[in-house]
């Protein structure tokens, strides 16, 4: 595909995604409206004077009309100002930029593990449907989806960290400063996170492959006398690539969520612990900041996947 048409596609997709992005920011902002009672009072805390409450109201612009508040907040956000934490006073953007790398590291690692382990498993199961391997893969699949990720994490810590001492039980290291150490710390969390991912990838790739390999065009390929390996690796895989991309997008979304819990188990200073503490402590700017960051990441990655779709499947209309 030429660069010009790719650019046009990107532009078109951006335009299509714009309302979703705007709505997302609106949802994040409007979240605060769910707070029962007067927001200003909640923010002010216990036993403060009326004057103080009025001050807070003015400070946070709570006396202005709702949409105006939103516009103001959005304007700030776009410029990189996500307000300050109510608990620590630190700029939200600061906290996020400190913690995001840790989260991204384990999520990326987990995604890698999911695809690298899941796809071959799915392929193996599809090549021999009904075999013992196939049965094993589907059992694994059911388990992976029902298994609580944080429980797996706890078990991993119990065995591999406490008992065998192969991996550290808590904490994280910066990837840029100490890459090997960072990976070492990130391994167990990534494995815990990847469990359900492997199950999903294996299941989807298996069923997609089965469908493709029993399709009519594969029959034509055999009628043309093409060897099986060409049929499978060239035609089969290209046809399932769209499914795999979709699963990947799904996993990104799911893992960014699941990482919250995993981080709690491993006491990793990431986005997860940030939002949990903020939610418990009613630190709304931080909650909003984290939510906004996450949703932007998901939407951005989906955009990328959309573009990749067109590369793999010419039927996807670049409308």
């Amino acid at each position: 595909m030429s660069t010009r048409s790719t650019l046009r596609l990107v532009l078109r997709r951006l335009v299509q995604m714009a309302p979703v992005v705007v709505l997302a920011t609106f949802v994040v902002f409007a979240l605060v409206q769910l707070i029962p009672g007067d927001i200003a009072i909640t923010l002010a805390g216990e036993g403060v004077s009326e004057q103080r409450i009025a001050e807070i109201r003015r400070l946070y612009g709570l006396d202005r009309p709702f949409l105006l508040q939103y516009a103001h907040w959005l304007g700030d956000a776009v410029q990189g100002n996500l307000s300050v934490s109510l608990l620590s006073g630190e700029a939200v953007v600061e906290s996020i930029s400190r913690r995001l790398p840790n989260t991204l590291l384990i999520v990326s690692l987990a995604l890698l593990i999911s695809m690298v382990v899941g796809i071959p498993l799915g392929i193996a199961a599809s090549v021999r449907p009904g075999s013992r391997l196939d049965g094993f893969v589907s059992v694994l699949g059911s388990l992976g989806i029902a298994l609580p990720g944080f429980w797996l994490a706890m078990l991993l810590v119990a065995v591999f960290a406490m008992k065998l001492n192969w991996f550290p039980a808590t904490g994280a290291k910066s990837l840029t400063e100490a890459p090997l150490s960072a990976l070492h710390y990130a391994t167990l969390p990534a494995i815990a996170l990847a469990a359900s991912g492997i199950a999903e990838v294996a299941r989807q790739s298996r069923s997609a492959l089965l469908e493709v390999m029993s399709s009519q065009y594969v029959r034509t390929l055999h009628a043309k006398g093409l060897p099986q390996r060409l049929v499978f690796w060239k035609h089969g895989l290209k046809n399932v690539s769209v499914t795999l991309l979709t699963v990947f997008g799904l996993l990104v979304n799911r893992m960014l969520g699941a990482t919250v819990v995993i981080e709690a188990v491993f006491a990793i200073p990431g986005m997860g612990s940030l939002i949990v503490n903020a939610a418990t402590g009613k630190d709304y700017p931080v909650v909003q900041g984290v939510m906004l960051t996450m949703v932007v990441i998901v939407i951005g990655l989906n955009l990328l996947i959309d573009i990749l779709y067109t590369l793999f499947d010419p039927r996807v209309d670049a409308r």
Partner: protein, 303 residues
Amino acid sequence: MTHEATSSPTMLATGRPSDPKMPPPRRFALLRLVVRNTGASMALAYLLVLLALALAAPWIAPHSPTVQDPAAVLAPMSAEHWLGTDDLGRDVFSRLIHGAPLTLAASFLAVGVATVIGLPLGLLAGFLGGWFDEAISRVIDTLLSFPAIVLAIGVTGALGVGLTNSMIAVGLVFAPTLARLVRGQTLIVRRELYVDAARCFGAGRTRLILRHILPNAVQPVIVQMTLLLAAALLAEASLSFLGLGVQPPQPSWGAMLARAYQYMEIAPEQMYAPGIAILLTALAFNTLGEALRVALDPTLRHR
């Protein structure tokens, strides 16, 4: 959480027997189909037993789940305490049993909220079409762009922590999935029956459509709701683990795991029971859901 809307409208009929398009109602056919599948019948049996345990918890549990016994802290398994005691001397087994009704109720609450919000919105979006559909679809897309747990935590943070609030949050997070599914089904069924209805009957079209579309569109929704029960269970466990759901001293399986984790070095076996309970129950819901999906979609049945 995978969900594909099935494209075949109906085998379960609620239409009149004289209606040429639908077979006469078969009340227990669905149940029979599900039970034929051994995995599903085991899952169903397990869930029924669990439900019974949950309902009878106050009478079955040997000890109170909240009474603390400082003398017997983190005790191992014994005749008196079948699964030992936790860090405050509370009987783990009793807490496990008392956790069942809480956990189950929480799951049902979340799925209930999701249904109450998602079902009508999806139905209307699919039926009315036009700008309403566009708007609802955009909102659905937007909400689905948030990682589920993150959104749930956000909403819980706003509403205030606690089991009820967190489950309402989870329900809100699941609602878009259901809405999208119902919308898709409505679109399909509307296209199928609308023409027939318009042709054959003239009067009472809306009524007929509502009486025919809704039952037909609802089937994959039942499957999805069952699968969502599993997801809600895991969500509750996670949120309680994080301290955002159940508040102490109430026993939820997730909360029990949190405590067990804190004392993992001293008494690691505390981690097993609640985890296994969560795993088995989620597995049971999932198996049941999958069996229902196969049972309700005739094209999948003879594979």
